[in-house]
Amino acid sequence: MIIPLQHILIFSLLLFATGLYGVLVRRNIIGILISIELMLNAANLNLIAFSKSTSLAPETGQIFAIFVIAIAATAAAVGLAIVLALYRVRKTVYTDEVNLLKW
């Protein structure tokens, strides 16, 4: 490990915050999905960094990262499928225009 753990964690925190910002402010659902991918990446980074530097079973972190990647892929697939279906029905991909269930 060339660089200290804290730096990686800070980096991952920043990445996570950026992703969360995107999730909070983007109107486009695809944009939100992309931002979620950022957040998941940050989480993965954390997992690996911890497993690399602290855990005694070094595979664990990586394996969970693999699981996260798999889940992220499924999330993206299903999410994007929903976006497509939504677009086909409502002709929009903006969150605030999809408000049929509001109130």
């Binding site: 804290q6 992703g19 995107g22 690399k52 530097s53 693999i66 994007l80 677009y87 991909v93």
Partner: protein, 175 residues
Amino acid sequence: MEILELFSKIGIYATMALVLVFALGVVALRNLFHCALCLAAVLIGTAMIYVALHAEFLAAVQILVYVGAVMTLVIFVIMLTEHLGGKTIRQTNRQSPAAIIGLSGIVVLLGTLLMKTPWPVTAKALDAKVSVMSLGKALMGTYAFPFEVISVILIACLIGAIVIAKKDVSEKGPS
């Protein structure tokens, strides 16, 4: 050899900086396609950091799954819904000031927390090498059950995504 290490450090920090810049691009750019490309860059950069953390297998998987498959999917969907992205349409909602304030608060607090926490970094862990073989054995041994569950989830999501995105059969026909 210290110089080489220095080079590596510089490289890693530069990569991190670039990744952050691209991440900002992901959330801030107006053009969604550019966002997706930035995301691809972020993912590749993260993969490079994985390599620096000696997780080559994970890096390869990251690129293979994310860049090869997920990004393609995202770009496909962007293209299918593309013509909405006119210049005059707002791409962010009105809560961005609040979000910036809140998130910067969280970053500051968590950052201080991170820096102050004494992490139990062990030399043994730092020296440990994770080979692909050991990863495979762990996947097939200790984590066999979660692995199978994940595969079931994958299949279910695959079918679900197809069903959701498929055009209704009744909708077909000459229009």
